[in-house]
């Protein structure tokens, strides 16, 4: 038996195996028995990380559909970080809400496997397959609190709009196949390049449909409507997971499709993407300002961050591709940290997710408040935190690519976003909490606390000593494009 064709899929196979193990364990669990299902998932992730590191620089390929190049592996590693942190911060929610442990973890692991596949797929159909794997799992996770009307509504909305997006995407694939006769990215690329001087109407239509599909998944304006509702209704740990993981996977595929296969058509799609990027940054931050719910606010913030990522994408140079990778990591860590804190603060029967609920948090829980401030300031792009380097990298790419106007919109909207991130800081540090509210809530679970500390450490590391990761990100994009 020849194992060589399988090497590129080992990372996602590890995660899938862990997911199957989690399901089996749940099935054979006697009622009331506690099983260490979370650690099972962690083992799967560690396996995936090791496999990704071993595959580094080898550009392994499986069946011509999956390519484990450094770009895909970088995203895979980011997804491992996202998965590990999500597992850790889920613990608190699971116990409090009495959610089915096995199903929850299995879905999260399946979703991550789908994300990894999406990041490394080199065929449009496989990308679609991966998109469906991750989307279906995430729909269910969104509605996993079956008794909560908000959660069910969120899941349903997400599902309906997601189905639309999938349909658009599928049409895009069909049109592309009709024009080029292939779904493989490399063949599409060479065929498109051959006739890029005078693309047919059909070709442009295909590009447009694919663009809409991706824009839905990265919640770019005007396809962002589902985001605030889905993010608000889902448990915060799930929101943290999907706001980072789905975005990372979708952007990886977005970059791969648009900057390799469809790169020759760039003059045709770049103005449109630039416009979407500008609208996404503006709408995300401006609407974020008026939100009173922390989860909705973070949802709009994540829309805005999608806009910055789009700026890096539309710059379409090596700096921009590297910036996408670095930005995804920096954003994922800070955003998961923030949602982790929202998850910890969620109390029994009360969601505690209004901005006003954070009043006086510093007096009651100084460590949690300090960590939250660090994550929010990183999202806002303050030095010396990771978010600053990430934004700087994106703006450098934009200026290098000749998109100075996008960079100007980017920096100005990031000032607006600072306003709403600081609203929470104002609440935590400068406003007295409700009198007599001594901290009756339980202590921070060990795993979640450790995850938050690790996230904060990564945020500082990315901000103070970014050089190594910047180099790796820059090297990763050179392997394929």
């Amino acid at each position: 038996l020849n194992f060589a064709p399988f090497t590129a899929i080992v990372p996602m196979a590890c995660v899938t195996a862990a997911a199957l193990a989690a399901m089996t364990a749940e099935a054979f669990r006697s009622p009331g028995e506690r099983m260490p299902i979370g650690p099972l998932g962690a083992i799967g992730f560690i396996g995936a990380a090791l496999a990704a590191l071993l595959l580094w620089d080898r550009s392994a390929s499986s069946f011509g559909y999956v390519v484990a190049d450094n770009f895909g592996l970088f995203v895979t590693l980011v997804l491992v970080v996202i998965g590990m942190l999500s597992l850790a911060i889920s613990e608190a929610t699971l116990d409090r809400e009495h959610l089915p442990r096995g199903e929850y973890y299995a879905l999260m692991l399946f979703a991550t496997a789908g994300m990894m596949l999406m990041a490394t797929a080199s065929d449009l159909l496989v990308i679609f397959l991966a998109l469906e794997v991750l989307s279906l799992a995430v729909y269910v996770l969104t509605g996993i609190r079956r008794d909560s009307a908000a959660a069910v509504e969120a899941a349903f909305k997400y599902f309906l709009l997601g189905a639309f997006a999938s349909a658009f995407f599928l049409y895009g694939i069909a049109f592309t196949y009709g024009v080029t006769g292939s779904t493989r990215l490399d063949r599409i690329g060479s065929l498109v390049a051959a006739q890029s001087m005078s693309p047919t109407m059909m070709q442009l239509l295909a590009v447009g449909l694919l663009l809409i599909g991706f824009a839905f998944k990265v919640s770019a304006v005007p396809f962002h409507m589902w985001t605030p509702d889905a993010y608000e209704g889902a448990p915060p740990a799930v929101t943290g997971f999907m706001s980072t993981g789905v975005k990372a996977a979708a952007f990886a595929a977005f970059v791969r499709v648009f900057l390799s296969a469809l790169d020759p058509l760039q003059p045709h799609w770049a103005p449109l993407v630039a416009l979407i990027a500008a609208a996404t940054m503006i709408v995300g931050t401006v609407v974020g300002v008026v939100q009173d719910n922390v989860k909705r606010m973070l949802a709009y913030s994540s829309i805005a961050h999608g806009g910055y990522l789009l700026v890096a994408l539309v710059a379409a140079n090596d700096t921009g591709k590297g910036a996408v990778l670095f930005y995804l990591l920096s954003y994922a860590v800070a955003n998961l940290g923030a949602f982790g804190i929202v998850a910890i603060l969620e109390g029994e029967g009360r969601s505690n997710d209004r901005v006003a609920d954070y009043a006086g948090l510093w007096q009651r829980r100084p460590a949690i408040a300090a960590l939250m401030a660090i994550f929010l300031l990183s999202l806002g792009g303050f030095p010396p935190l990771g978010g600053f380097i990430a934004k700087w990298y994106v703006f450098t790419a934009a200026i290098q690519g000749g998109y100075t106007w996008l960079a100007i919109i980017g920096v100005l909207t990031s000032v607006v976003s600072v306003f709403f991130y600081l609203r929470i800081v104002v609440m935590m540090y400068m406003t007295a909490g409700p009198a007599g509210l001594q901290d009756s809530r339980s202590a921070v679970p060990g795993m979640a606390g450790a995850a938050l500390l690790v996230s904060a450490a990564i945020v500082f590391y990315l901000g103070l000593l970014p050089s190594r990761l910047l180099d790796i990100a820059a090297a990763s994009v050179r392997t394929i494009f």
Binding site: L377, F382, P383, P384, F388, W392, F395, T396, I399, Q400, T404, A407, I408, V411, L412, S414, V415, V418, F419, L422, V426, Y429, M430, T431, P466, S467, L470, D471, A474
Partner: protein, 532 residues
């Protein structure tokens, strides 16, 4: 390897702040925290004096330079160094921080540990801004400074502190993000010319840029600095921030933070874009002169002492910007000297107002009156600092304002004439305020039994008063080290313009707009030469 004195100056306050974490954070240990923070800041001050002692005043170059690679892919280095312009500003920072800490021992009633940590981290960032020789590093310190200041205003400030804190941070950020883009744009130009990114200030000094680009980049830099200074009409954040900040915050804000704007103009905006700077300098001077008169007039009618001092800062910083805009030796030297003076005397005024407000819990001028009879010692110190702020000969303010007006007169007498009215107006509003607060009968019974200076307050005010006198009588001790560096900066700016003009002439056929944009340039250097 020599001792990394600048890095240790930057790192020492932050290290000290982290050490404070070891002390328990409760009411009982607050005095211990205060003392520990004071000791740390005094160590920093001692080290800054050591830096001054070992500084070679005859050299125009950057000294104590340390350079390490930080993000090599983009040519970003950790590069620090001092020259005559930044040296004394570092000493000023290190001088004011212990005084501000000492002044807060009894006025900060909650979370003493966090307060001291914010002050120390702020000190690190401020020193970092003054020593950075890499634009990226500079920006990191510049922005990192906002957070501790924001917390100082927002947590320990007066009633409208949250509004003031948010306004402060948003205003300052709005300006500085555009500067970030200009910095990236500049580094990108370096890449276009030399093949690689560089954020190294000394290399970017040597870059010659087309005129239209220079103007845009200069405007982005100047906006960031004008907001920080603050230059009229970007000053509206300042009265709020000053009034609502706790005493220590106001002292640092007025004493050091405002200087970063003017320092940025001298260090970055003018020498990096000489052609644009010469072109735009008259407009900057115009805004500065408007600010001088406007700030003075508004200060006159303020009922609140702190607000009065805040508007007086707008007026005084107008002088500094005017001095920089002249781009001649007297003007710039006076400007740098006035930065130090303003730091000392306005810092002193905020300390005195803070002491009055600690005693009476009000800062309204109308609430006071006849204090001279009640607390003669405090009023004596108050008088001396007030006179220094007005610019009485023999005290520090006189030297700076005189040099600036001299420089301005040689550049364009019209600016000097209008600015000189600011000197008179400042005497009017300061002395009028002083008279209403301190002379006459004691009209308010609450003032009859106020305590005079306590030993701790003596320790705060004596260094300020002493420095006002020393800087007024022996200005040369302070002016001499900055002279070579300013001279070099000026000749760089003046060389920059003709070089550019020739380059533009050579490239004239290629672009139609270049000669047009460079039209005023051939005139300006001659004027500048004549002025020298």
């Amino acid at each position: 390897m020599t001792f990394p004195i600048l890095t240790s100056l930057v790192a020492l306050p932050t290290a000290g702040a982290l050490l404070l974490l070891l002390i328990r954070d409760d009411e009982h240990d607050a005095p211990l925290v205060g003392r520990a923070a004071l000791v740390i800041s005094l160590l920093v001050f001692a080290e800054s004096l050591l830096l001054w002692a070992r500084f070679d005043p005859t050299s125009a170059d950057f000294q104590f330079v340390e350079r390490y690679s930080w993000i090599p892919a983009f040519g970003i280095t950790y590069a620090v160094g001092v020259d005559g312009i930044s040296l004394l500003l570092i000493v000023l920072t290190a001088f004011l921080t212990p005084l501000a800490l000492l002044a807060s021992w009894e006025s900060v009633h909650k979370k003493m540990r966090a307060f001291c940590m914010c002050m120390l981290i702020l000190e690190s960032a401020m020193i970092g801004v003054f020593v950075s020789l890499d634009l990226f590093l500079f920006y990191v310190f510049w922005d990192a400074m906002l957070i501790p200041m924001y917390l100082l205003i927002g947590i320990w400030g007066y009633e409208r502190r949250i509004y003031a804190a948010v306004k402060f941070i948003l205003y300052t950020m709005a300006g500085s993000v555009l500067m970030l883009l200009a910095i990236i744009g500049l580094a990108y130009q370096h890449r276009l010319v030399n093949g690689a990114y560089s954020f190294d200030l000394l290399r970017l000094y040597d870059l010659s840029l087309p005129a239209s680009l220079q103007v845009w980049l200069f405007l982005a830099f100047a906006l960031a600095f004008a907001i920080k200074v603050p230059l009229f009409p970007f000053h509206t954040w300042l009265p709020d921030a000053h009034v609502e900040a706790p005493t220590a915050g106001s002292v640092i804000l007025a004493g050091v933070l405002l200087k970063m704007g003017t320092y940025g103009l001298v260090r970055f905006a003018f020498p990096l874009f000489p052609a644009a700077a010469i072109l735009i300098a008259p407009y900057l001077a115009l805004l500065a002169v408007v600010g001088i008169v406007y700030g003075a007039l508004v200060a006159m009618v303020q009922p609140d002492m702190k607000k009065l001092v805040a508007y007086s800062s707008v007026s005084h910083l107008g002088f500094v910007v005017l001095g920089i805009a002249t781009m001649n030796m007297q003007g710039v030297q006076g400007a740098v000297y006035q930065m130090l003076n303003h730091g000392v005397s306005t810092g002193g005024l905020f300390l005195v107002v803070g002491m009055l407000s600690d005693r009476r819990h009000t800062r309204l001028i109308g609430e006071f009156g006849g204090l001279k009879a009640v607390m003669p010692r405090l009023v004596a110190a108050f008088l001396l600092i007030t006179l220094a702020s007005i610019g009485l000969p023999g005290l520090n303010g006189f030297v700076g304002e005189f040099l600036i007006l001299l420089g301005a007169f040689r550049w364009d007498p019209r600016f000097a004439a209008v600015a000189a009215t600011g000197v008179i107006l400042s005497a009017v509003y300061m002395l009028w305020m002083f008279q209403r607060v301190n002379y006459g009968p004691v009209t308010n019974a609450k003032n009859a039994s106020l305590a005079d200076l306590k030993p701790r307050e003596w320790a705060v005010l004596v260094p300020i008063v002493a420095l006002c006198v020393v800087m007024g009588v022996f200005p040369n001790a302070f002016l001499r080290p900055m002279e070579p560096s300013i001279d070099r900066m000026l000749s760089h700016v003046q060389e920059g313009s003709p070089v550019f003009a020739r380059a533009a002439d050579a490239a004239a056929p290629a672009t139609s707009e270049a000669p047009e944009a460079s039209a005023p340039i051939p005139v300006e250097p001659q004027e500048a030469e004549a002025a020298r």
